[in-house]
Amino acid sequence: MLETKLYESDIRPDWCPGCGDFGALSAVKNALASLEIEPHNVLISSGIGCASNFPGFIRTYGHHGLHGRPLPVAVGAKLANPSLTVLAIAGDGDEYGIGFNHVVHTARRNHDVKLLVLNNEVYGLTTGQLSPTSVFGQRTKTTPYGSSIYPLNPLSTLLGVGATFVARGFSGQVKQLSELIQAAIKHRGFSIVDILSPCVTWNDIYDNVRSRMYSLDTVSHDRTNLHAALDRSKETEKIPLGIFFQNEDSPSFDELLHKTVNNRFPVNEVKHMTEEEKKVAISIFS
């Protein structure tokens, strides 16, 4: 295990005191230290929102980009430099709303990037509007009489599109969350960890989560069984936490690509075509 202080930034998080995202930040640092991945080999790609302020609060390479777009940036970076550990970290609005298209296709193609969604079931940074995971009846500025929309179930949806690693964590349980993140990083291909991360300002769900959560480790759940995973993901009374599903039989996009095109480390590879390549390049010109 490396020292977590290696990942310590000199920038103080600007999250509200008590925000769930602090727990997620500790868990990510702990996970990287436990797996002994040095800060310079980690890239965190985020979007826009409270959750997406993550890079910079942890000392790794960071890309703090556009609302909804952390995944495609992560996908490109991983393809260009396969030796990086690439995480995408953002909020529920970012990933399940404006950027959900990318989540579906990154999962389906099984890119070797790890998505951590800090899910507070609300648009935090824009002052608490309804998000795709806000619950039926939730009162927000945009739903003053309570929401009449049923929420998106990100886990069952992603199981449906063929995600190979699907988990849910809680930012109030840093140790367990760190373990989930470690498993996600080690997974062969795309992984998603939906992290319930309460927004104390607009949607404080700490007590609600605590009273309904249980660990999948305490029941006999077979994480290789897609149907069992779907059943668990559809539970509404209780909130299961842990790894719902994992399948390492299929290769990641990056592995397949590496086999066919042998994508190499880019820095040394920026050079002109070889004579052989030139011939191929212009063979189509005559």
Binding site: V42, L43, N53, L66, G76, L79, A80, P266, H272, I284
Partner: protein
């Protein structure tokens, strides 16, 4: 050697194989020492409708479509009806009287009636080979050596097996024999079978040029007329080690390109106008976090879905203004396929040296829609990655990725480098890439830093302008009329000027390939030398004239514009110049089908 050239057109329904027939003929001419320039009259459908293929070939460097049609192959009725009126005196039209009813044929045009379908059916159950028979017939009119036919058909169909090749060769030779008997050529070319010329369109040239510049990452979502770039990359991915991502949309394509560039690859994406509109937020991101990328717009006629298979230069204003607020961007519009290939090394160098997005603008006319000869491909443009560090000292928690420097370019480091950590940020940021937008926003030091950061980014434009090429002046220095163009419209201008010079008209042209940023004072000096300026471009509002006015104060009021979707023809430029010399000044718009 006297100048000789010829124009040929093949017309049929989509699915009749007119594209490959046109390619075969283009190849035959190129292998006989001819320069070529072609245009693909596509429709946005896969079968039916009417498509045609136009070829201009000659022993001089043709750049455009020539004048009218000398020889025509019409495989169906629309092809005959649409084009018969454009055939030149002394020209000929080949058709099968069983499928085409010839109405009145203009005087001076020879009808050549051949049993195309009947011959085709001898070699295959379906009449598909009728276009091959037609090619043979055209080859006879052109006077190409019959030996060439076998060689070219082998090249085109070799992969489909011996039987198919033989069938096609025999079908073509039969057409050749019949046509040779029924027509005495009125126009001839000068062949040199020892000179094998290469040709391609700007999409393929761009892809090849990018790969030679070290581009190893390409992302795209299919969109005409940019798709051939994607196909080229995919076909060559394995042999050349290119990572190709068929993204879920253009937003993802652009963001993945930025991710790959951030991680150190030379990365590129391409699309057409609609896809570019989706990329706009991310284009600003690349400029804001100073990630070098090359992005391509192969323009088609808009607005909105517009005419997917027709040409236009309507996206210049979009490129100048796309994405919120001011940021540095570079815009280059190569004039033809050869220049496109030779531009790509420079495009990547500018992107990396100045850490900015570089936009390359092509259009359907020279992209997917038209081949031209490529003679001089420069594979040797040196690769310059700018201030790219491979090592960083241990100087603190974060690396000063956005350090303020004299030339406004900060040292860049790639993820994976120890001690180099920073955050590439779309929020306004300080030199380490930390937010100025949250807890610091509005504080005195943050306000000052914001202004410094804007100045740093925008200040790059001054340095880049020094490296950009001024427009090329073609023709005599002393001219009564100066034609101003950018990108592909220079091509019909070049052919028009040859005709005008032959008639003693003093005309020259100022042709922009690099569009922005430029040393505008020098551009103004060039333009002020002209006695009379005519702006020639393919859009409604004369967008380049607008840019020139904005940057130099020079308003070019006399204009030749087209927004019909069809490329300009040299004859229209000739006519415009002559009218101007007769003092008929103003805006002229064309609306003729080719």
């Amino acid at each position: 050697m006297t100048d000789k050239d010829i124009t040929i057109r093949l017309g049929a329904a989509a699915g009749d194989g007119i594209q490959s027939a046109g390619e075969i003929l283009t190849r035959m001419l190129s292998m006989s020492g001819q320069y070529v320039c072609t245009y693909n009259g596509n429709q946005s459908l896969i079968r039916g409708g009417h498509v045609w293929f136009h070829i201009h070939a000659g022993n001089w460097r043709v750049t455009s479509l020539g004048n009218g049609i000398d020889y025509m192959l019409a495989l169906n009725q629309i092809a005959f009806d649409e084009h018969i009126g454009k055939i030149n005196q002394g020209g000929a039209i080949i058709f099968d009287p069983k499928t085409v009813k010839a109405g009145t044929i203009p005087a001076g045009v020879t009808p050549i009636r051949l049993p195309l379908t009947e011959i085709a059916l001898k070699y295959d159950k379906r009449p598909l080979m009728k276009n091959t028979v037609g090619i043979g017939a055209l080859a006879a009119l052109l006077g190409i050596d019959r030996k060439e036919i076998g060689e070219v058909i082998q090249l085109q169909f070799g992969s489909k097996g011996k039987q198919i090749v033989e069938g096609n060769v025999n079908a073509a030779l039969e057409g050749y024999g019949l046509a040779a008997k029924s027509f005495v050529p009125t126009k001839s070319l000068e062949f040199d079978y020892s000179k094998k010329r290469m040709f391609t369109h700007a999409d393929f040239a761009l892809a090849a040029g990018a790969v030679n510049a070290g581009c190893k990452f390409y992302a795209a979502y299919p969109m005409s007329p940019a798709s051939p770039i994607l196909h080229y990359m995919a076909i060559n991915a394995e042999k050349m080690g290119i990572s190709v991502l068929l993204a879920e949309d253009e937003i993802a394509a652009m963001c993945a390109t930025i991710g790959a560039a951030y991680a150190g690859a030379r990365a590129m994406c391409a699309t057409s106008g609609g896809g570019f509109a989706l990329m706009q937020e991310a284009l600003g991101m690349a400029a804001m976090n100073e990630t070098p990328i090359v992005v391509v717009d192969v323009m088609r006629a808009g607005p909105s879905t517009g005419l997917p298979t027709k040409t236009s230069q309507g996206d210049l204003n979009m490129m100048l203004g796309i994405s919120q607020d001011d940021f540095p961007r570079v815009i280059i519009a190569p004039r033809n396929s050869e220049e496109t290939f030779n531009t790509m090394g420079r495009a990547f160098n500018i992107a990396e040296k100045w850490q900015v997005p570089v936009i390359v603008l092509l259009d359907f006319g020279i992209g997917d829609g038209g081949y031209s000869t490529v003679d001089n491909l420069d594979f040797e443009e040196p690769i310059d990655r700018g201030k790219l560090l491979t090592e960083v000292g241990d100087e603190g928690t974060w690396f000063k990725r956005y350090e303020l420097t004299d030339d406004n370019v900060s040292p860049r480091v790639l993820p994976g480098t120890p001690n180099g950590m920073f955050v590439a940020k779309t929020d306004e940021h300080d030199e380490y890439g930390h937010d100025l937008s949250d807890v610091e926003a509005g504080l005195q030091h943050a306000v000052e830093k914001r202004v410094e950061m804007m100045n740093k980014r925008m200040g790059k434009l001054t340095g880049i302008a020094v490296e950009m090429n001024l427009p090329e002046v073609a023709g005599p220095a002393d001219a009564d009329v100066t034609l101003v163009s950018w990108g592909s419209t220079s091509n019909p201008i070049r052919e028009a000027m040859r005709q005008l010079w032959a008639e003693g008209v003093k005309v020259n042209s100022v042709e922009f390939c690099d569009l922005f940023p430029l040393r505008w004072k020098e551009v103004a000096k060039m333009l002020r030398k002209a006695r009379h300026l005519i702006d020639v471009e393919s859009n409604y509002t004369a967008q380049m004239a607008g840019l020139i006015a904005r940057e130099t104060g020079i308003m070019i009021e006399d204009r030749l514009l087209t927004y019909s979707g069809e490329p300009l023809e040299p004859a229209e430029v000739v006519e415009k110049v002559k009218n101007v010399l007769k003092k008929e000044i103003g805006v002229s718009v064309r609306n003729k089908a080719l």
